[in-house]
């Protein structure tokens, strides 16, 4: 009984690693966030399968070639951000910043492409359930892309604080996770909206 000792003051108790919980919390958040998309996806599928006239009058369907290019850009940015993270872990900050910036640019290109696509469409938000779900899904996803870019910008700035990224920094990891999440959501979205017509 007396051989065991209680942790002395100042000794690392389990609770001291508060920042370590950030990633746990963030992953829980992402799981929860995915349910919103799941709700929108199932709503889309339900409305589409039960619709009498799915497409609004005068709309033939969606053009898919340009969105496909956008998709390829966005999905490859998952690769570049992984590379950036790889270099960060090896403390090659220049390469980290380069690939990080590249992922940001690819995300921005995706958003630009989507804006161009939106402006060329001949239906609006209120054009039946097709228009509503199309803009809701792409818009809500686009909001996440924009958030991702902002987060990446923040992490980029933080990388210039000396010594900030040596060790326990979880922001980069969380941001990159978020970015992969946004990509996976887009792939499902692309299949649902553009491939399944």
């Amino acid at each position: 009984m007396t051989t065991t000792t209680l942790p002395q003051p100042g000794a690392p108790a389990e609770h001291e690693e508060h920042p370590k919980h950030n990633l746990t919390g963030f992953i829980i958040f992402l799981c929860s966030e995915s349910v919103i998309f799941l709700a929108f996806f199932s709503g889309y599928a339900l409305l589409k399968t039960s619709a009498l006239n799915w497409l609004p009058e005068g709309v033939e369907g969606l053009e898919w070639q340009t969105p496909l290019v956008n998709t390829i850009v966005l999905v490859s940015s998952s690769g570049t951000i992984a590379l950036a993270e790889y270099f960060k872990n090896r403390e090659k900050m220049l390469l980290f910043r380069g690939f990080w910036l590249m992922s940001m640019a690819m995300g921005a290109y995706f958003l630009y492409g989507q804006a161009v696509e939106w402006s060329g469409l001949r239906f609006g938000f209120t054009s039946g359930t097709f228009g509503g779900t199309f803009y809701l899904l792409t818009g809500f996803h686009g909001l996440h892309v924009a958030t991702g870019i902002l987060l990446m910008g923040l992490m980029l700035i933080k990388s210039f604080i000396p010594g900030n990224y040596q060790g326990g920094e979880q922001g980069v990891q969380a941001t990159s996770l978020f970015w992969h999440f946004v990509d996976v959501i887009w792939i499902i979205l692309f299949l649902l909206i553009y491939v399944w017509q």
């Binding site: 209680l6 002395q8 359930t129 509503g132």
Partner: protein, 558 residues
């Protein structure tokens, strides 16, 4: 070996002003939640009094019909989103860190933000009483097409404010859930494995997982509702190709599990309190703990039982009838475990114990009417009648609110440091138990006779039971007086509480009353056995004798 700093010297500077500002201490936030919740409880209760006042006569004579619609809508909304959820989050804040030996929540700032959202959306909801057209009037579930009407055409209208408030409540609850789950998973005391965790933490973990899975669906559905209402989309508008039943799916996918978000922590309270007041270990700890997660799994696949009359396919009705009935199995396991705990125990009928026993009684009754409602033909027969209203008031008030009162009386000494008065407490219990049964039991015959819910006038043949129900409701209204009196006077000048006035086993009872700001601080005791070792004489933690001796010394010198 020595215990260097525990228990710490009490700090005199912990003033009451902390309760009125942005404070990140979970114990302060917990009390902020509970006090705020009871403020709204009084408002929601007042509305209930108006409803029952209106229904004491068959004619619609107390309030205007349109006002009546707004009143029952707001009564339900306030009681759920501004009372039950906040008060439970208050308990979570107080109990989870102290029960698992953590100094605070995992994300204290997020915790404070989650709390402060409550008064904000509460204010928004209250403000909707004063906008042109009045508050939302489409019932607490806000089904379209009623909820997407905007007859006055104002951009800011009661329904829009309702949706925004509910969405904000969802954001707050998600923040809370992330915090509670992370805290339980990552911040337990050394030696406290998952299967040494108090059942309250198990049920909190289960309930908060449900929040994380269910709430986003409601939020998504609510966003679409707001767009239909405000921007003229047609997700739920049949004339634009939309489907109003889609909203019902979104709504009930969350709002059925929401019942478990409410009742699971109350199961946790029962599981904590029955062992204390019968001096026996919890019967079947492992099964009680695991049953919580079986309820989570099943609870996510029963929502269509709210939609049996909504034109869903027959196979769906059959399927969801079966899943709903299956929930009786894990719930039954828990009920038998509690009965097994009570069996042959040395029962102490304190106020918290009385509330637990009363709550359990009401819960069993609600369970039986629940099975009746799960049966498709019965459900279709009594759908939208007072039978349903009676059923869920037994669950929410009869079981959950009574369990919450039990928890408040039981842990009040721990977190306030003073003892509530037993006499007033027992009076409160008596009035609550009689009032609740008098209020909600007559709703069942009324429903079977065919009285629809949400009406302000009714056929005179329903008068008798309505008068009884209204008298019960007024009794419930009166029952709050001894409660508030008890809480206020005990808080100000109640007798000082020792660290363990109920002679209970648990980490929280090894802390001074009230606990210091960071609970155990660095000196978290190592847990060496399962909880509820009543009668076994086995210590819960290493060096328990020494910790208790120090606490007693501290109390003697104070």
């Amino acid at each position: 070996m020595t215990i260097a700093t525990f228990p710490p010297e009490p700090k005199p500077d912990q003033g009451r002003s902390r309760y009125f500002g942005f404070c990140t201490d979970a114990k302060v936030i917990g009390i902020q939640y509970i006090v705020t919740a009871f403020f709204f409880f009084l408002i929601g209760g007042l509305l209930a009094m108006v409803i029952r006042g209106e229904l004491i006569t068959p004619q619609s004579d107390l309030v205007d019909r349109a006002v009546y619609n707004g009143i029952y809508t707001m009564h339900g909304t306030i009681m759920l989103f501004l009372f039950i959820f906040p008060v439970l989050n208050g308990l979570n804040n107080l109990l989870i860190p102290t029960m698992i030996g953590a100094p605070d929540m995992a994300f204290p700032r997020l915790n404070a933000v989650a709390f402060w959202l409550v008064p904000i959306f509460g204010f928004l909801l209250m403000a909707s009483f004063f906008v042109p057209g009045g508050p939302a009037y489409s019932g607490w579930w806000s089904y379209p097409p009623v909820s997407i009407q905007n007859p006055l055409g104002h951009l800011i209208n009661g329904q829009g404010m309702w949706i925004t408030a509910v969405a904000l409540s969802g954001v707050s609850s998600i923040m809370g859930a992330i915090n509670f789950v992370t805290t339980i998973l990552r911040m337990r005391a050394p030696g406290m494995t998952l299967f040494r965790m108090p059942v309250f933490c198990w049920t909190a973990l289960a309930a908060q997982s449900l929040q994380l899975i269910g709430l986003p669906a409601l939020t998504g559905g609510a966003i679409m509702l707001l767009m239909d209402l405000t921007f003229g989309t047609s997700f739920y508008r049949p004339e634009g190709g939309g489907d109003p039943v889609l909203y019902q799916h979104f709504f009930w996918f969350y709002s059925h599990p929401a019942v478990y978000v409410i009742i699971l922590p109350v199961f946790g309270v029962f599981s904590e309190l029955f062992p204390v007041y019968s001096r026996k270990p919890l019967f079947g700890y492992l099964y009680v703990a695991l049953a919580s997660f079986i309820i989570v799994g099943l609870g996510l696949i029963v929502w269509v039982h709210h939609m049996f009359p909504s034109g869903v396919a027959q196979w769906m009705r059959n399927l969801f009838m079966v899943t709903t009935m299956l929930i009786a199995v894990p719930t039954g396991v828990k009920v038998f475990a509690w009965l097994g705990t009570l069996w042959g125990g040395k029962l102490r009928l304190t106020t918290p114990m009385l509330f637990c026993l009363g709550g359990l009684f009401n819960f069993v009754f609600a369970g039986i009417t629940g099975i009746m409602l799960a049966t498709v033909p019965v459900d279709i027969h009594v759908s939208n009648t007072y039978f349903v209203v009676g059923h869920f008031h037994y669950v929410i008030y009869g079981a959950a609110v009574m369990g919450i009162f039990a928890a408040i009386y039981h842990w009040f000494p721990k977190f306030i440091g003073r003892m509530p008065y037993e006499g007033l407490g027992k009076l409160h219990f008596l009035l609550t138990f009689i009032g609740a049964n008098l209020n909600f039991l007559p709703m069942h015959p009324l429903g079977l006779m065919g009285m629809p819910r949400r009406v302000s006038s009714y056929d005179p043949e329903f008068t008798f039971w309505n008068v009884v129900a209204s008298l019960g409701a007024f009794l419930l209204g009166v029952s709050i007086i001894p409660f508030l009196l008890n809480m206020l006077s005990a808080w100000i000048r109640g007798p000082k509480a020792t660290h363990n006035p109920w002679n209970a086993i648990g980490l929280e009872w090894l802390l001074p009353s009230p606990p210091p700001e960071d609970n155990f601080g660095e000196d978290v005791p190592t847990v060496i056995s399962r909880p509820y070792g009543y009668g076994s004489g086995q210590p819960l933690v290493e060096h328990q004798d020494e910790i208790e001796r120090r606490l007693e010394l501290m109390e003697a010198s104070a």
